[in-house]
């Protein structure tokens, strides 16, 4: 059984899942689900860190806080919760670097047995590198 950080959820047009990453430092993070169009059918997932010196949330930070596995488990929990609330939506995301996308891909492969029956996942590549992940809940109709 994997662990994730406790969440503070703010509902709205942009859903915000806040948590504290506890590694070498305590870093406040937020997973944001932002609609990419007027139809709300495809949603961008962003992971932002709080920068105390700038007093802002920013997604260009590399924290190396030593808890990336727990952070990714927390992000996975957020995706699951969001798609349970909005099963007809598609969540898309892309890491800020090539190495981050590879990390996300490895984690998804590692836990594939857990999610493969419940989610469609597609990876779109550009120039032989992973570019964008697409995640959608599999909707099962009872006969």
């Amino acid at each position: 059984m994997e662990q994730h950080y406790p969440i503070r959820l703010l509902e709205g047009e942009i859903y915000q899942y806040w948590f504290v990453s506890i590694g070498k430092n305590e870093i406040i993070k937020c997973v944001c689900f932002t609609p990419l169009g007027s139809k709300n059918s495809h949603i961008n997932l962003g992971l932002l860190d709080y920068l105390p010196e700038k007093q802002q949330m920013n997604d260009q930070v590399i924290t190396n806080n030593g808890d990336s596995r727990t952070v990714l488990m927390t992000v996975a929990w957020c995706i699951e919760d969001y798609l349970n609330r909005f099963p007809n939506r598609c969540v898309v995301f892309s890491g800020t670097t090539r190495s981050r996308n590879l990390l996300y891909w490895r984690m998804m492969e590692r836990y594939k047995e857990i999610w493969r029956d419940r989610y469609h996942v597609k990876l779109v590549s550009k120039n032989n590198d992973i570019d964008t992940f697409y995640v959608r809940k599999i909707i099962k109709f009872e006969s």
Partner: protein, 53 residues
């Protein structure tokens, strides 16, 4: 996908709540980049038939 919550002490929750309530600005270059690709993303979703499920 049941997972346990980690224990977080009250001071960490307090600092989290303080930041949330302060309405800090968000700067997400990735979200901006994805917004500019919204049409391409929607085309892929339609191509895979995910819009019809």
């Amino acid at each position: 996908m049941k997972r346990k919550h980690l224990k977080v002490i009250n001071s960490q929750i307090d600092s989290l709540d303080a930041i949330i309530s302060s309405n800090v600005p968000f700067y997400s270059e990735k979200t901006e980049a994805m917004l500019s690709r919204a049409d391409e993303i929607e085309e892929n979703i339609v191509k895979w038939g995910w819009d019809k499920e």
